[in-house]
Subunit: 360 residues, 2 copies
DNA sequence: AATCTTTTCGTTAACGTTAACGATTAATAA
DNA sequence: TTATTAATCGTTAACGTTAACGAAAAGATT
């Protein structure tokens, strides 16, 4: 059962009339080989289509120097923090790649404080990491970080959200605009023509997040693209969230309107809204929200939330590590940019997507 | 950056006071080691939690004997055959595992002829395969096949559908009952109370397929579980499909009824139905179907189909190979049984799921 | 021309596992 | 007892890649 295997370094050496040491030097761009022989070797590599055996390579390297990845994400304050989810996926991927020689180091920043991001990113730069997984929360600070990383040729993958930065980076995240469009489609199906809609942005002291804004834009774009646009009413309500939500604004605008209403909450906190709307249970609300946290799932189960959109945070982390491994071992960058599908969750299919199910 | 690596075979040998050859014999259950030393070695393996390095193992073994997988699926007649999709995923996984030493051999049967399944499965049994990927289309023939495979301890993974067989096997497929429930939920959202529904089973000469039946059952179960069951009307129509669909039955029952109607087509052929209903365009139909074939997607795009359910056929094949590899190299069976999520597809998120997107 | 640098290259020992091949000891037969 | 066979075990070379080490050749310096 011996097969015509792809050529190894030994075959290349024989064909080029040199030793495997020289081939290795060419492959790794190390000095100590004359221009002439280098050219010859590269030609043979081209012709034969030599591909290094990652198995053998990692077997050797895992014992000497691990692939070191740093992960810089927001602090995980409580047990149900969103950021536990990508971390779960990252840890899973690292565990799977354990014997390939890989290590992960976590750094945390305060998501209300750009300076903490800067401090932590500087800590990372002091070390000798091969790649970074992070989140483009703060525009200027992310740009600074990217600039320094570009100089030292360290790969970066951003999770969760995307914004225009001055340096190219890799993104594994959901297209929030498209997610907003999907939300529009789903609510329209429930309300039909001439619907009444409310986009609820739950904002913090730093204002609205880029993800949420893009979701709203997508939502509105969906209704604009209808054959009879303008027949629907869409209102945006920005609710500040510090300790608690203040419903002063929402009560007259939403509750006191007649007929069915479509509510689109652009972040993970739709459950907060519903917690406070308990006393208005007779209002006919249709709600689409984001993320499969415990509270949202409870409302999905009892029918207060019709649809949830999942952005597969666990898989984002998982895919980032796997993608980086592939890139660092094979120079294959294709898996570092993933447009996460807009998963639609209803009561009946919710279980599949919980507990960090890692299937596509 | 040298790390406390998990112990290798050499450490075990030293601790047990024997040579690595003996350890290897114990690990592979090969003869030539006395009961006493075997016991001792096993104890050390227990204590240290030794795990073999798959990297090194496959590096060695890939050169001598490949992992050989046979895949027995229905014939692929035309370019848009459903069975091209799992095959795509299988080939992708095999390509990724190429240097690990793996090979795939395809066998095809005629899905209308159980005897062709039997013949092909006998062909497979003549060879020396390590594992089988197939489809439990024919109950008695699948049972026969499983029995013979069990004797020779060959692993089996069934894709696509599930039915009760006399021998245990692994399944990577979507729970069709749950998919039917989801379809019920989606159509109900569009029709609201007291809806009028039609379940369309498109059947062939061998009768209704098990998947389709389970989907119908799930659909009906959904409406049974409503708080006010019995208010909805649900009719089942079995349409024979040989060369073409005959709409004689469907016209009076569906088209001539007043008001909006929900249509649930339990297989991939919803486009066939719509092809024939072109002349009745003014009827208010809401349609949920299965599978992202080209024709269904076209109807999704132009709004004739509201929702499609995706069963990720490419991923099923992909996961089968990856799961088998993990099982055959690490005795880890956990990835051989996957309950594929019921992906809900609308016009706005369809693109993510096309072209065999392999992300969870 | 002889010595010293520098450049260029081949040799070799690992990484951890596998399995063929011998070597040693124990068990049986003569 | 000695010869023969069987059971038990250690040694070794390989899988393909990596990189340290040192040898040889070429170049520069007195």
């Amino acid at each position: 059962m011996k097969n015509e295997n792809s050529p190894g370094i030994k075959e290349i050496a024989k064909l080029a009339g040199v030793s495997i040491g020289t081939i290795d030097r060419v492959l790794h761009n190390r000095p100590g080989v004359s221009a002439k022989t280098k050219e010859k070797v590269l030609e043979i590599i081209q012709q034969t289509g030599y591909k290094k055996n990652i198995l053998a390579s990692r077997l050797k390297l895992a014992a000497t120097r691990k692939i070191q990845i740093a992960c810089l994400i927001p602090e995980i304050k409580d047990k149900s923090s969103y950021w536990k989810l990508p971390q779960y996926g990252i840890n899973k991927a690292v565990a799977e790649l354990k014997e390939q020689g890989i290590s992960i180091s976590y750094y945390y920043f305060n998501s209300f404080d750009p300076r903490s991001f800067e401090e932590q990113s500087n800590e990372i730069l002091k070390k000798d990491f091969d790649a970074i997984i992070s989140v483009p929360f703060f525009k200027t600070e992310s740009n600074q970080f990217l600039q320094k990383l570009e100089e030292s040729e360290i790969a970066v993958v951003f999770l969760d959200s995307r914004q225009e930065l001055n340096f190219k980076a890799n993104y594994i995240n959901q297209d929030s605009f498209k997610a907003g469009q999907v939300a529009g489609r789903l609510l329209e199906g429930l309300l039909k023509e001439n619907g009444l809609y409310f986009v609820i942005n739950i904002i913090n002291e730093r204002g609205i997040q880029v993800n949420n804004l893009q979701r709203e834009q997508g939502f509105r774009a969906y209704f604009q693209s209808k054959s009879n646009p303008g027949k629907d009413e869409i209102y945006t309500i920005n609710l500040p969230f510090d300790d608690h939500l203040d419903l002063q604004e929402i009560i007259p605008k939403v509750i006191e309107r007649q007929g069915p209403k479509g509510i689109f909450v652009t972040n993970a906190r739709s459950f907060r809204l519903l917690d406070l709307l308990k006393e208005y249970e007779d209002t006919e609300l249709f709600l689409v929200g984001f993320d499969l946290n415990e509270q949202n799932l409870a409302y999905l189960k009892n029918g207060k939330i019709q649809f949830l959109i999942n952005q597969k945070p666990e898989y984002q982390g998982y895919a980032a590590v796997k993608g980086l491994y592939k890139y660092l071992t094979s120079q294959d960058q294709t898996e570092l940019n993933i447009d996460i599908p807009v998963d639609i969750i209803v009561k009946e299919n919710a279980e599949f997507y919980m507990n960090g199910h890692m299937t596509p």
